[in-house]
Amino acid sequence: MEQQITQAEARNNPQPKVMHMAPVLRGLVWATIGFAIFDLMTVAVDPFRGRPLVTEPSVVVGWVGALIGWLMGVGGYEGVILPLFGSPSTWVEPKNWRKYFGLSTNHKVIGLQYLVTSSSIFFIAGMDAMAIRYELMQPSMHFFTYTGQYLTAVGVHGSLMMFGVGTVVLISGLGNYFVPLMIGAKETVFSRLSGIGHWLLPAGALTLIASPLLGYWDTGWRGYEPLASQDPGGMVFYYLGIFAMTLSTIIASLNLAATIIFHRARGMTWARLPLFVWGILTVSLLNLIWQPEIEMTFVMALLDKLIPFHFFDALGSPLTYLSMFWLFGHPEVYIIVLPAFALWNEIIPVMAQKNLFARDWAIIGLIFVMMLSGLVWAHHIFTNMRNSEMFPFSFFSEMISIPTGFSFMAAIGTLWRARLRFTTPTLLVLMAIFNFVIGGLTGVYLADPPVNLQVHDTFFVIAHFHYTIIGGAIFTWVAAMYYWLPKLSGRMFNDTLGKWLALWIFIGFNGTFSQMFLLGLDGMNRWVPAYPPYLKPLNYSVSLFAFFLGAGFIANAIHIWWAWVKGPKSPENPWHARTLEWLTTSPPPDDNFDGEVEVVRGFYRYDHDEPSAYLVKNPEPAE
């Protein structure tokens, strides 16, 4: 292997061509060119009356051209296309900060790229939420100029948060960075594919953000038919944007699942696999099953809009779209929270320096949630069902709380009579547990059909799922950022400040969403920029808390950024954790471990001092 590479290099120019244009800039230029070529070719063969230069079909084909241009421009041309046709890759990954702005094959660079892109999406979609809450401070339209504009804001907010943040941060972001480290791998299996995968995410997010250019769309993040097929062209960018973002997730999941299966260090048996790795494995399987399903559905819906095919209107079956959407849509919720469950049981034992309680049950819980999540979707469409049809879905929707509870059981068993160190990650994990239990228990109401028929499509549901997603997953993400910050940067944050900032978002979050339950019970339905005036006082109060929450997230982001760049140097293993990522330096070297890792026992035992793994250092190079 070594020899072949040397030969191949000797045959070529030893000094690879220097890139003159920054990859992202080149990507944008090539995307523009790609769009123009593909779009004009389409309008040439498929002209529309009045001969506009951009039509719905041409924008779809043009988008494909733009995506190809973008992916090639950011490095796909040298990194993928040239090797594919037999030429050696001339792509050189820079050693400095520039490596974050182009195609990379290093899972840590890719993980950080995902985290930064996703944080930017979180910021944009969060500002979008602020605009929504500002509008809802008054019962009539006073900020947005047209209801379709408001509904587009709602749809962009939901789609970006689900596909660009919730599905991404813990899996493609922290998963890409930490899973290989935690299993003692030096690289991932499909590292080049994974590098390309990241660049689909900003492409998808920008597509969604650009959707108002083609006309305001009304459907929210669910794209219900037949409304979608009669909506303006913005709908097209909804399908395409989500297509790119889910493709990015599929690639990340494929790569991570393959890496977990094939690249574990010696001694890293399945029985020793860390909890977070189990979380990522189960969730990757969910992604590999359900993301292609929603992509197929969106392809059908897009064709329905362009051709049209009448798959999902009154001539076809609108209900089929609803089922196909939620068949993916409910597992999606678990895709977002499963890694969070796993992280609780990763962080708590470390902070308590205590054996993880009932580890096997925690893993079984993750696996059963993964399997049951595909059997509950129809509780999203109880308003379309009859007695006998509701029974099974109601049953599984209630039963899925049992394996979910196993994660709580393990966490509580570990906390009980521990010597729990009160740190920012500890606090945030406990807050996430508190929030998620509210999200989970309010789900029991929604699983009960008579109650569901009343609160469905109201703010009760909005409050419920924000409790699971922000309260559970996003709080855990923030906890994990603080927990792993010393590993990511080699620096430490300010623990006192961290706790105050955690309290800030906790108050903002609970103030916002607990009142939304009451709004829902009071008859506030979804997707309304104008509502009956009796709902104003509660809405006003929700909005004030929402602004407070938004500011709190920004404050946390600034604190993390400051600590990353300027924080005091952290010791090598500040939490005394036992998992493998702490066996190497912070931040880790390019190939993760300066030697060979051998795992000799599990990572969740604190009743002895024996190391759980050894790092056999590479011999010093002879000088």
């Binding site: 379709g148 580890r359 379309n384 509701m390 029974f391 906390l415 699983a447 009960d448």
Partner: protein, 272 residues
């Protein structure tokens, strides 16, 4: 052992307080409801709430208890003194209770209420209910009373409105299409027929005719409670927020008077 006792006392006490607060609030009801279907949903809501209360208090208390009682005096990385990885009694109770509770919830309220709901529907069907044809178009609710030959019930300003007699079963026929559309009456989208005070919503799907039964049990209207309104609950385009209509539940005598008035309006307009 001491921890368990303290925790148990706190848990029991807080649960008692929580239940007491819940019951005093329940007197005002969590949502305003004036139909038999709504009462069914509300009682299920209340039943679930009082059973979920101890679970919520348990988890919330654990997080606080852990922070207070099990907090390390400093951040020295010292191992905990207790290193239990198994506690059969705890695991057994947890798993057993979560199965028992979920099966109970599924039997009651879920199965019991679903049976009750659809038995009610069958009974009401047999009681010669008032029939209201509800048509949802973008963006308007239209109400038609075929038994009284009222094609589209409107107020003096010509805006759609719905009146229902109290204590008489109603059967709604729900359809989504646009009778005014000149070339494509199938240009319909999904709407959702929701009267918040009646405690039920049902999606209205283009291409399907659906039914819904209930009995309004109190005299009320949009002015006595803003929840007595038809509200489209499923997003149906830019007109969605404005797709609402006032509802009045009135006595039988008032209803008869209103029907006369509607028939007169219709005749004056030269309608059928």
């Amino acid at each position: 052992m001491g921890n368990i006792v303290v925790f148990g006392i706190l848990w029991a006490g807080l649960t008692a307080v929580g239940e007491w607060v819940f019951r005093t609030h329940r007197a005002h009801s969590f949502y305003y409801t004036i139909s038999n279907q709504g009462s069914l949903a509300l009682s299920a809501f209340n039943f679930l709430s009082s059973w979920l209360m101890p679970i919520f208090i348990f988890i919330a208390l654990v997080t606080i208890f852990a922070l207070v009682r099990f907090r390390a005096p400093n951040n020295e990385p010292k191992p905990s003194e207790v290193q239990a990885m198994r506690n059969r009694a705890f695991i057994f109770t947890w798993v057993g209770l979560s199965f028992a509770l979920n099966i109970m919830f599924w039997l009651h309220p879920t199965s019991v209420d679903l049976e009750a709901m659809f038995t009610n529907w069958r009974k009401e069907k047999a009681q010669h209910p008032l029939i209201v044809n509800v048509t949802a178009r973008q963006w308007e609710w239209m109400f038609n009373y075929p038994q009284y030959h009222v094609t589209q019930a409107v107020n003096a300003q010509g805006l759609d409105e719905m009146e229902l007699p109290v204590n008489r079963p109603v059967e709604f026929f729900l359809r989504s299409y646009d009778p005014f559309h000149t070339y494509d009456v199938y240009a319909g989208v999904i709407h959702s027929f929701w009267i918040p005070a009646f405690g039920i919503k049902e999606d209205v799907i283009p291409g399907e005719t659906r039914t819904e039964f209930l009995i309004p049990e109190h005299v009320a209207n949009y002015h006595t409670s803003p929840l007595v309104r038809v509200q489209c609950a499923e997003v149906c385009g830019p007109g969605h927020p404005y797709m609402e209509s006032p509802v009045s539940v009135v006595t039988a005598a008032q209803f008869a008077k209103w029907i006369k008035y509607e028939q007169k309006l219709q005749a004056a307009a030269g309608g059928s």
